[in-house]
Symmetry: C2
Subunit: 305 residues, 2 copies
């Protein structure tokens, strides 16, 4: 993997936190000759232009993908099917299509039927991001040292997979290939369930009244603050993740609820040994995470997307 251009022309569909991070990363490293951005919001396009994130800005995905060698979909998942349908007739033969969606089985189901013969679809998911949204939130260093998972279907053109892999590796990411279903199951635990729980507890606190709610915010340093950061993530993006990874999330949620009931019962009946046993076990998991070198300081990669 020598230096230089990996793709001549890149189309970025959507220029939020992730899209703008990709634009910054590939341009600052000279991995792509031309970047074209499509965003339906004129305001967002104008801001992206002010930030000088790309070479061209267009309103529709169809315009953006003309002559593009690589197309990266960077929108909430609910827009994928209509985007895939709209760009299909305009994709260049031999082009590579990829994405950054936090769920992969549903993305494959939404996009694949629209992909023309001769275009190579390599679904992807960078495990990096912050809770902030919009083109200002991005960072060209966002992917350094973070995992970027690819979930190509069997039989996908190996050269297309290799070029996508090279592109993200040259942005600093650790690229891994996994089956889409397995990805969705693991991410349900590492990202989707934690977000769901964080949203829930912050919502629970929101329902407290008056002075109590204000004091919860004032005294949030005791653990709650970390949850508010996670629960400050993009609402549309996360709505789409839960709706599109339903089975895996509900399965993990069921296990979680059983485990929580076990602890609840231990607290009610004063069974300190059960609490201590679990709390000692979870310390081991923390050690594993720290040893896996995934525990860098905030804010890089502290959020599923």
């Amino acid at each position: 993997m020598s230096d230089g251009i990996v793709f001549d022309r890149m189309a970025l569909i959507g220029i939020g936190n992730l899209g703008s991070s990709i634009a910054r990363a590939v341009r600052s490293r000279g991995l792509v000759r031309t970047v074209v951005v499509a965003d339906t919001s004129a305001e967002v396009r104008a801001r992206a232009a002010e930030l000088d994130l790309a070479d061209q800005y267009v309103a529709t995905p169809a315009e953006a993908v003309e002559n593009a060698d690589v197309v990266v979909i960077c929108t909430p998942i609910s827009a994928y099917a209509s985007i895939a349908e709209a760009i299909a007739p305009h994709l260049k033969p031999g082009a590579v299509l990829t994405d950054i969606g936090s769920v992969k089985l549903a993305v494959v189901a939404a996009v694949t039927p629209h992909v023309p013969n001769g275009v190579h679809f390599v679904p992807g998911h960078p495990i990096a991001g912050t809770e902030k949204s919009g083109p200002d939130a991005g960072s060209g260093a966002l992917f350094e040292g973070r995992y970027w998972i690819l979930t190509p279907a069997e039989g996908t053109n190996p050269d297309a997979v290799a070029r996508v892999s090279t592109l993200w590796a040259r942005c600093g990411a650790l690229v891994e290939e996994l089956p889409a279903a397995y990805h969705d199951k693991v991410l349900a635990v590492t990202s989707h369930l934690p977000h769901l729980i964080a949203y829930t507890i912050v919502g629970t606190a929101f329902d407290l009244e008056g002075q109590e709610q204000r004091d919860v915010i004032r005294f949030s340093a005791g653990g709650f603050r970390d949850f508010t950061r996670i629960a400050g993530s993009n609402p549309i993006m996360w709505r789409d993740i839960f709706l599109n990874n339903r089975e895996a999330v509900l399965e993990m949620l069921q296990r979680f609820s059983e485990d929580l009931s076990y602890l609840q019962r231990a607290i009610r009946w004063g069974e300190g040994d059960k609490l201590e046993e679990l709390f000692t076990k979870t310390r081991e998991v923390r050690r594993g995470v720290v040893e896996a070198n995934q525990a860098q300081p905030f804010p890089y990669g502290t959020n599923g997307k």
Copy 2:
């Protein structure tokens, strides 16, 4: 509140993360003339001496409190009652007794019956700490800009309360007085419930098998990692917190479970509008937390203790 000595002689019962942070904070700022540390572990006393945390090291709380002007209990809550009983006959008339426990009603109930006439008990709780344990984990800067809540009973000697308040304020803390029951209710939301949930989800992940568990750790950057940090906290300390704030924790846990069921149902039935509505609301809470200036970078004050 002029400069200089606030108390002549301080006894610290326990020299873990919090005790050693207090020792460092008061000595580096010259707020106390002499610090005596009691710890039952010879190993911990030796390490504290190596770190030069105090002026004297003794094995029993009773020895430490002789002639002390202020006594600070810095152990897990389960030890409080026996410590209070053991030190009672040795407390100097006029001495001030305080603590750092994360629960206040149970602490008041355990300690108050043993407090001799003429000794002033001012329960306290610094909302600061990290998930690390032991004398090496402390920091003299730990309390800077963090809240330190005092919950003195009505009728407590105002001068004693004022001196404790001055001591912690001079360590950089924002000192607040609250009723003990109210403290416990607010902390159940801001700290105890988040910890319980973090422990649960990390335990749920621990029960996954083989490769799946390893991949959860590898790909932990998506939110789970934050939970492992919280769930890496001191097991004994947290066991005691849950057992001693049972009613408030169970009450908040009940609300949380109802709210989680509501989301679970919304996911199952594909009700995206309900998800989006909550996720938008929780963003407001995050904004409130950031505006309250409680969202400094890790590690200061990111953990209930």
